[in-house]
Every structure is written in C-alpha cells, then in structure tokens.
C-alpha cells in the first residue's frame, strides 16, 4: 500500500475511534444517571459536603470545610506539607464577609 494511503487510513481509523469514544461517553453518561442519583441520595441523607479524594489531612479530605489557615494550624511557622495540599484550595468566600477571619 502506498505510504500516503496508509497514513490516510491510519488517521481515518483514529478519527473513527474518536467518534466511537464520543459515543461511548454519551452512553456512559446516560447509564450513569442512576448511579448519580444514588450518590445524590447519599449526599442528602448523610449531609455530606465533600468528595473523598485526598485522605491525607483534614483540610485535604474536606477542602470545602477548610479555610486558608487550616494547613498551618499545627504550630507557628508551620508549612504546608501534604502533597495534595498543593492541589487543594480553600473555598473562595463571598467578598462581603469574613475576610481575615
């Protein structure tokens, strides 16, 4: 097969794969609705506020409950030392309240 033809076929196959993956995503989104409802139910009954992503520290486990000072609580001069702490930011508060609280 000519190289240019082979390349075109290769690209077409990949594009086709991309289309397939888009369809797969669409499919998974519809089948996931029931699971999502289950999770929503859990959030409601347990009154949860955070996803369980980083279980290293308190403020990484519940970033929505943390504030800017949480990582530095342990002692004066404490540094942020948990790896996932660099990924997690405290919640942005509405400007009208509690700046510097």
């Amino acid at each position: 097969m000519r190289k240019s033809v082979a390349f075109t076929v290769f690209i077409s196959v990949n594009l086709f794969l991309l289309v397939l993956l888009t369809l797969h995503a669409r499919y998974r989104q519809t089948t996931a609705i029931r699971e999502r409802l289950g999770r929503a139910e859990l959030v409601r009954t347990l009154q949860l506020t955070d996803l369980c992503l980083f279980t290293e520290a308190r403020y990484t486990r519940h970033p929505a409950m943390a504030d800017r000072f949480a990582p530095f609580q342990d002692h004066p001069g404490a540094m942020e030392h948990f790896p996932s702490g660099s990924l997690v930011t405290p919640p942005h508060s509405n400007a009208t309240r509690q700046e510097g609280s």
């Binding site: 289950g38 859990l42 949860l48 992503l53 409950m65 660099s86 919640p91």
Partner: protein
C-alpha cells in the same frame, strides 16, 4: 482523482518517505510528542470528569454549614447556637452534625466518622465505605476495632459496605450511631462538630449567613455555593499541579519546535535545492514541509487523545494515582463518567499541530526560495 488531490497525495508520499529516512530520530520524536499529548489530554479528561461529578453530586449538599472558630481553629459548636439560628427568618431547619476524623495506627489510614440524622445504624453496628473495607480487609458481617479517645478498644460490626459506585463520596467513611460516636470521642455535652442549616430560598442564603455571622461572631457560615466553587476551582489551570504539568508540556512543545526552527541541516538545504532545480516550485517545497509537520503532530494528537481517554476512563487514570495519592493510604477507585470537553480538546489540537507545523515550514522558507539555477552553479 483530481489534479490538486494528486499533488497533495504525491507530496504527502514523499513527505512520509522523507520522515522514514531518518527513522529512529523521527520515531522517538513521535513517541515523545504523543506522550506529552497523552499526559495533557489525560489531565483534561480527568479534571473535567471530576468537576462534573462534584458539581452534580454535591448540589444536594446542605444549604449552609456553620462552623465555630476559636483562635482561628475549627472548634466544636454549641448545639444551642442552632436553636437561635432556627429562629432566623428564612431558616427552615437546623441539624447539628457529628463527624470527625480517626487515624488508625495499625493500618495507617485516616477515616471519616459520621453520625447521620436521622439515625441509620444501631449502636455496635457500622456502615463502612469501600476504601475502609479494602484497607481493613473486612466484609459485611465482620468486626473491626477502633480505639477510643480513652484508649479503650471499641468493637464494631460491619453491617454493610457502601457500593463501589459511591467511592468518590464514601470511600473512607464509617457511619455509626451517636452513642458510639460519643464513646469514641467523648464530646462535651451539648456540642456538635458543626451545624447544617437549610434555607429554602436560595436568594436568602447570603442574608441569613450575614445574620448568623452577626449573631455569633465566632462562627463561620459556609454556603453551598462556596462548597461547589471549591470543587470548581480544584484543578483549575491556574492552581498547583496543573501549572507544573502545563509548564512542562509547554516547555516540551517549545523544545520540539526549537529543534525544527533552528534551521535546516546542510543536507536538507541541498535536497531542497535539488527539488527546486528539477521543477518543484517554492509552494511545492513548503507543502512538503507542511505535510512533514502534519504527519507527526496530527498522529501525536490523535493517538495521544485516544490513549488518554482509555487511560482515564477504562483504567481509572492509573498513572495519576501516584501523584494524587500523596501520603494518603486510602485512595478511591475512580470509575469516572466520561466527559468530553470539546473546547479544551480543540485548544490542545491547535497547540499540538500549529506551532510544530509552523516550526517545520518556516525554516524551510528561506531554503525554498532559492533560485532554481543555484543547483547548476554549485
């Protein structure tokens, strides 16, 4: 086939044959480039999926959570605060939440202990998350032991394990009765971890929060909108790991383009001179370079993106585990719902293909404009 199509097809053929002439160099270039696209695309897929998950799951979170702060630290809140808050106009319900952290020394893991309201388990029974079950290697019906704050062992029976579809929420959870919670942590009477406040009208929430802050200056109300925004800004392009990964990727793109842009070798220059002398126009030579650039960058983009999708949605982003896990012992098994963000992928496409192709064409421009009789003179 039409003449323009033939021209493209023939020149593409020569472009590929030119790339194959320096097979090892171009192959390693392609592999590396694909790897970079793979990492960035994986990040895009992973983050988007998580963001969607957070937004859709947490929209049922409590309207407002009121925390008490003492000396800048999160402290227990007196339940009587809740009575006064209940009286504020707009507040339909206040429920004290009991939850906390437990560090298991034996297994080295952090668990979140939580008492639901209304109660779901009898004293002595617990519901645990799949991460806890894995960590402690227990099944429903088994028992596990926790150490109370008075250093006494507390035996609990696993009544059930939350389904794997709830991993993202429940992985490290232990749901227990109020009595067992008290046994564990020995809270002073009348105290709770924080208060969950229900305000039916979303527009009144800020007003209520302000009133609570006035009423109890030692509290910190957290609105649901802020909770959602926390997760929205998680993995924002501007924050933490994303900047590092992005910087590395951009740097790599630059290095690739630089290698191309620093000009042609004498051999490449000579070859272009020959092409010009046998009848190739400047535009033909540039088309050749264009195809050389496209072959590599387009392949890298498509293969990288397809592999990234498979990595994130079929293999639960296994390669990110190490970076994300950090020092955690319990790490959820992500079975994320695929979300394809066309905008970000389009940006990635342009970033991948455009600069590289330009860097392949532009240095050749000068050589391509050489007069055709130069080959006769040399």
């Amino acid at each position: 086939m039409s003449a323009p199509l033939n021209r493209h097809s023939n020149i593409l053929e020569f472009a590929i044959s030119s790339l194959l002439r320096r097979k090892s160099k171009n192959l390693s270039l392609l592999v590396l480039y694909t790897l970079i696209v793979f990492v960035i695309a994986s990040l895009i897929f992973f983050v988007q999926a998580l963001k969607h998950e957070a937004a859709s799951t947490l929209k049922d979170a409590p309207d407002m959570v009121v925390q008490r702060m003492i000396a800048g630290r999160h402290d227990l809140i007196p339940a009587r605060y809740g009575e006064q808050i209940r009286a504020i106009r707009g507040v339909s319900a206040v429920s004290p939440r009991l939850w906390g952290y437990y560090y298991d020394q034996v297994f080295g893991a952090n668990y979140t202990l939580l008492v639901p309201d209304p109660k779901q388990v009898e004293p002595g029974n617990i519901l645990i998350g799949p991460g806890v079950a894995r960590n402690q290697r227990v099944q429903a019906g088994d028992m596990l032991t926790l150490k109370t704050s008075r250093n006494a062992p507390l035996l609990l029976t696993v009544q059930g394990i939350y389904p794997s579809s709830s991993e993202l929420l429940s992985s490290d959870l232990i749901v227990l009765s109020a009595e067992d919670f008290q046994e564990m942590f020995n809270l002073p009477p009348g105290q709770a971890t924080d208060l969950a406040v229900t305000v039916a009208n979303p527009r009144e929430r800020v007003t209520v929060a302000t009133k609570i802050a006035e009423l109890f200056p030692d509290t910190r109300p957290i609105l649901k909108s802020e909770i959602l925004r926390t997760y929205d800004s998680l993995f924002e392009w501007r924050g933490g790991m994303m900047v590092v990964v992005l910087a590395v990727a951009v740097l790599s793109f630059i290095i690739f383009a630089w290698d191309k842009a620093t000009g042609l070798s004498a051999e490449e220059r000579k070859e272009i001179g020959i092409l010009k002398s046998i009848g190739w126009e400047t535009s033909d030579v540039l088309l050749l370079k264009f195809w050389e650039g496209i072959v590599i960058s387009l392949t890298a983009f498509l293969v990288g993106v397809v592999l990234a999708y498979g990595h994130v949605f079929f293999f639960s982003a296994a390669l990110f585990e190490h970076a994300l896990k950090g020092w955690s012992v319990i790490y959820p098994q992500f079975k994320l719902v695929p979300v394809i963000d066309a905008y970000q992928l389009t940006v990635l496409f342009f970033l991948t293909v455009l600069p590289y192709t330009a860097a392949t064409i532009i240095p050749a421009w000068l050589a391509a404009t050489v007069p055709p009789d130069a080959a006769m003179r040399s």
